[in-house]
Symmetry: D3
Subunit: 127 residues, 6 copies
Amino acid sequence: MNNEDRYQRGVEKLREVSGEAGERVIDMLKDIAPDFARYLIEFPYGDIYSRPGLDLKTREIAVVAALTALGNAVPQLKVHIHGALNVGCSREEIVEIIMQTAIYAGFPAALNGLFSAKEVFKERDAS
Amino acid sequence: MNNEDRYQRGVEKLREVSGEAGERVIDMLKDIAPDFARYLIEFPYGDIYSRPGLDLKTREIAVVAALTALGNAVPQLKVHIHGALNVGCSREEIVEIIMQTAIYAGFPAALNGLFSAKEVFKERDAS
Amino acid sequence: MNNEDRYQRGVEKLREVSGEAGERVIDMLKDIAPDFARYLIEFPYGDIYSRPGLDLKTREIAVVAALTALGNAVPQLKVHIHGALNVGCSREEIVEIIMQTAIYAGFPAALNGLFSAKEVFKERDAS
Amino acid sequence: MNNEDRYQRGVEKLREVSGEAGERVIDMLKDIAPDFARYLIEFPYGDIYSRPGLDLKTREIAVVAALTALGNAVPQLKVHIHGALNVGCSREEIVEIIMQTAIYAGFPAALNGLFSAKEVFKERDAS
Amino acid sequence: MNNEDRYQRGVEKLREVSGEAGERVIDMLKDIAPDFARYLIEFPYGDIYSRPGLDLKTREIAVVAALTALGNAVPQLKVHIHGALNVGCSREEIVEIIMQTAIYAGFPAALNGLFSAKEVFKERDAS
Amino acid sequence: MNNEDRYQRGVEKLREVSGEAGERVIDMLKDIAPDFARYLIEFPYGDIYSRPGLDLKTREIAVVAALTALGNAVPQLKVHIHGALNVGCSREEIVEIIMQTAIYAGFPAALNGLFSAKEVFKERDAS
């Protein structure tokens, strides 16, 4: 496979998972680190998200759990709560995943995750 | 619901998810913090894991992702890789989940997660 | 003990420690995760904070240190700086605790903790 | 104050808090980073621990909470569980502090803290 | 060496690295923790930054990498992106360093680092 | 560029930076996640490390700082202390970089980094 195909596959996967929010991140990188925009499409989306063996919904469940636990990447958590909803998670499932992380990363991480989910749900209700 | 029921429900859920490894953690707490052993059964397993709205397999996928990302709780990650396998994840799915976290928590976190999975798979092959 | 008593005990402890700020957190959870609001009252406040063996002031000292060190839960740190003051810490003691964490979690964590304390002290002077 | 006095004050405070374990850390630094051994005595112990405004027992409570929450500094956590006991904390208080952090940093961090405490208690029983 | 000399050396080093941004941090500490302002000058700048063996540019490269990886100290990261530029790093080098950390701390940490760099570059273009 | 070239470039860069230790990591992944071994060569080494704009020595300085600060990836930190030495850092420079991170990530992170460096230096003296 050449890199152009990998990039194209990544662009499509990014659109499927993250929609406009993903494209906005890519745009924000254009003037400061255009190569990093390319890597972000190629490795995460062209390589990892494009793998068989786990459907996109399950991947986004893992991502929401990981980002809630890390607790220091709120913008990315919001992008991926959108992403999880885009690929078939229900709001109830997202709330359950975040509550589950309270056990492993503590109540503040879970609270901040729930408040991010609340904002995302509002954004979607408004549009 | 009284607390005794909650405790019993937690004991059963702990056994279902974590099997002997879960009981070993409870035993290790007996002489130093027996009340914490009880809380561990009641809140995580009696409350959270017992909720409807997300099946056990999905919960364990979220937990493996969260613990891999945090990267500072290797014994618990191993318990929950066992747990994920106990409740229906395949080894391939676990490897996919851990590779997915490389994007969000970095390659070292994912490498250490994969090496934990490797040890767990060996333990299961040996028994 | 039944769960209703545990909940009531938690509500009282939450009020004693966190006052209005605690109630505001509970309110913010009502529409997105009402069960999590209940868990937050039951386990942290009904179980842990209600234990004998450590007074509330000492518990809040531990919490301010832990949240300053983690550094990714500013809203909760502010709630518990209020909490520490509510249960008998002086402002000087809070500043000492946060400075102490500089050794273990670095100067940025301590600086951000001190700036949170500064905001809390201003809020209390204003009201 | 000149730096020699600060160093001497730090040496005494290190001995009071961390005893032989503290001296062992200093020794381990001698061949690789002797200046860092000196800074460790001067800033944490000569400056911070020597301040009035918070007694040593309260400082160690904050340190045990912070290190349990961070979860990636087990050797230092053990040194400071010893330290907390050296300056007047009871074993019961240490167990309470670590259980308190479960709320803020998750159950794995608290479990690993309790297991560190268990090892320290055994070391002291053996000597 | 007496402490007064150490303080003076720290003030000069802070000015050289962090310029006005450093002085602003010191000012913000004056009313809440003036001693901590003094420690911040003495230990980081008077002791560590003043050491021979590594030039200031290399030190700031290490600091930008560490703060990007930690991901929970955005104000300090911005101060040190300014700092790195003040002591001779180019904008391109800073972007490279932050992209490098994506491997070790994940894409969200690197993205947030790049967006901090973008803000700093704008601030410098505006003044 | 096609992916085969990217892979070859990555293999060479991995060898240059991490030598045998890098190859050992790749080998350890072979039976559990061979694709991840490939990604590890392609993205970090084939893409990032192969970029112009920052020499390998400076990249490794950033990596040692980032891994010391994260504090939860000791095996990787040791690989990259070796790496830093392989591409031209002196032992003194590595010690300086780790001491520098004490300011930003705390003394325990720096102590554990220095003890990792001590082990690496011994390994190299022995061989």
